[in-house]
């Protein structure tokens, strides 16, 4: 894997953005981002390290570090990173029920792809996705790209309420709503797994750098999950 080194540019006066050049989703870039974010976190030096698909936002306290010195530290890290030392994230299996009750937008994907529901489920679930980014809300994993036939734009007008656990598609991205929230993604299923639970010892089921695999389950299995 040979990637062009990223640009490191100021983001305001208290953060830097490590920006890779890509044209759409790049698996190599997404993997490099996660590896670099993991290695930066091991430093324990930065206020925030927020990996995304093609960039990492690194925040620092400008009262303690100057922009120049923060930038130098990051440049050194980018150059000297030992890629062999980066371990790959956990593989997490997420059960998903693709029944119409839980996936109200399956019809949209069927129409745009020309595929049957069975074929869509197969395409969506037969894939290990890299967790590239968390947010916009707590515990919402933004996953790597879905196979091309499943690409579909967001709803023009977002739904006011998308139930927690909903699995959706937006463009080439797929993700899981960790909380009930407004949202514009095309919802094709729902997981009975609780993605974010503030009262749990490990509140976040999934973190950036993990890999996710969707496992189709029946509506009966979904309902039995919490019974």
């Amino acid at each position: 894997m040979s990637l062009k080194p990223p640009r490191i540019v100021p983001y305001g006066d208290a953060a830097l953005l490590i920006q890779y050049e890509t044209d759409g989703f790049s698996k190599d870039v997404a993997s490099a981002v996660q590896a670099l974010a993991t290695s930066l976190r091991a430093n324990g030096y930065w206020d925030e390290i927020v990996p995304a698909y093609e960039s990492i936002l690194v925040a620092f306290n400008p009262a303690q570090t100057s922009m120049e010195s923060a930038k130098r530290k990051l440049e050194n890290k980018v150059i000297n990173r030992d890629s062999a030392s980066v371990k790959s994230g956990r593989l997490i299996e997420i059960p998903v029920c693709y029944a119409a009750t839980y996936g109200p937008d399956m019809g949209n994907i069927m129409k745009s792809s020309g595929l049957s529901k069975k074929e869509i489920i197969k395409l969506h679930s037969d894939n290990n996705y890299l967790v590239c980014m968390m947010g916009f809300i707590p515990g919402f994993p933004f996953l790597s790209n879905v196979p091309a036939p499943l690409h579909h734009p967001r709803h023009e007008t977002p739904r006011l309420k998308v139930p927690a656990g909903s699995v959706g598609i937006a463009g080439w991205q797929t993700g899981i709503y960790g909380l009930e929230s407004p949202g514009g993604w095309q919802i094709i299923g729902r997981t009975p797994e609780v993605i974010f639970d503030k009262s749990r010892k490990a509140p976040f089921l999934i973190e950036a750098g993990d890999r996710v695999r969707f496992v189709p389950i029946t509506a009966k299995a979904y309902e039995a999950y919490h019974a």
Binding site: Y11, A52, A63, F142
Partner: protein, 311 residues
């Protein structure tokens, strides 16, 4: 213990927030105007980050059930204690049964009520800051409501002290925010690059702790390609395809999918907490070399007064 007799427009328990978790989708939250919040705590002798009440736009009515010392700071809400005016940015001893009332804000957006020893709430990631979207902190993660009772905290405090002259921030209904260019600023049309800095914008009714939608001249960007969801921070100014800027505030999402046109400098972030619907907002370009000087100066002023505080 204190009791909420009326919660007003939007009152929540806040502290210094939970920084360092944006990679999990959890914003920092905490007091939106960190400076006024810290000053309120300082006056009652608390550490600057002790939990306190944040009241947006006014209408909060509190009854104290035990003797204590309180301080108020932030937006001007013409407060009254035991029916008599209580000066903003001041402290007072209260007796059990005393009541404090905030009127609607006449200047600024958020006022703070600090209590000696702090206030208690539900902690998540070592902070009781209320973040309603994920129901974190505060009391059940919610805004305060009539009848809620909050216990005083047991933080060890120093004696109450009056704020020396010159330390209370001068609030205005026209806020000037100094910004650095955002990563996609080159995708703005040339006219918009200039117009961003010419006439003030007005915060619309769509203004809360998450963000503020701004009215004013349309800011146009290049939208032939869509932007990949990317990280944002409080103080990031985004331009969506409808050309109406959105300013991210303290509870703002950790990622956004719009063009990032500008970023408010660290020394001015506290002012985001004083944006109310109708507030005029001007953006000023801050030069590269000026931002650290401004911050050093501001930190020097307040870190002498408030132990451990920095912007």
């Amino acid at each position: 213990m204190l009791e909420i007799k009326a919660a007003g427009v939007q009152t929540s328990l806040q502290d210094a927030g939970r920084p360092g978790h944006r990679h999990l989708g959890v914003p920092c939250s905490g007091a939106a105007d960190k400076l006024s919040f810290a000053l309120a705590n300082w006056m009652v002798g608390n550490s600057w980050s002790a939990p306190a009440l944040e009241c947006a736009l006014g209408g909060l009515h509190v009854k104290f059930h035990d003797d204590t010392t309180i301080a108020i700071a932030g937006a001007e809400m013409n407060a009254s204690l035991r029916g008599k005016p209580m000066k903003n940015f001041s402290y007072a001893d209260v007796r059990a049964g005393d009541e404090l009332v905030f009127k609607p804000s006449t200047k600024g957006s958020r006022a703070y009520l600090a209590v000696a020893g702090g206030l208690s709430g539900t902690s998540f990631l070592e902070s009781v800051a209320t973040y309603t979207l994920a129901k974190l902190g505060g009391i059940d993660g919610s805004l305060l409501a009539t009848g809620d009772k909050i216990k005083y905290g047991d933080e060890v405090t120093e004696a109450p002290r009056a704020l020396p002259a010159g330390f209370a921030p001068v609030l205005s209904n026209h806020i000037v925010l100094r910004v650095r260019p955002g990563p996609e600023v080159q995708h703005l049309k040339d006219t918009s690059k200039r117009e961003l800095f010419i006439r003030p914008f007005t915060a619309t009714r769509a203004t809360d702790r998450m963000g503020s939608r701004l009215d004013g001249v349309k800011i146009e960007g290049e939208y032939s390609k869509s932007y990949t969801s990317s990280p944002i921070l409080p103080g990031t100014l985004q331009i969506p395809p409808d050309n109406r800027p959105i300013l991210a505030l303290i509870d703002g999402h950790c990622t956004g999918g719009y063009l990032r046109a500008a970023q408010v400098i660290r020394a001015d972030i506290w002012q985001l907490g004083q944006i109310a619907p109708g507030t005029k907002i001007s953006f000023h370009r801050c030069f590269d070399e000026d931002a650290p000087k401004i911050l050093t100066q501001r930190n020097a002023t307040y870190s002498h007064l408030i132990d451990g505080f920095s912007f």
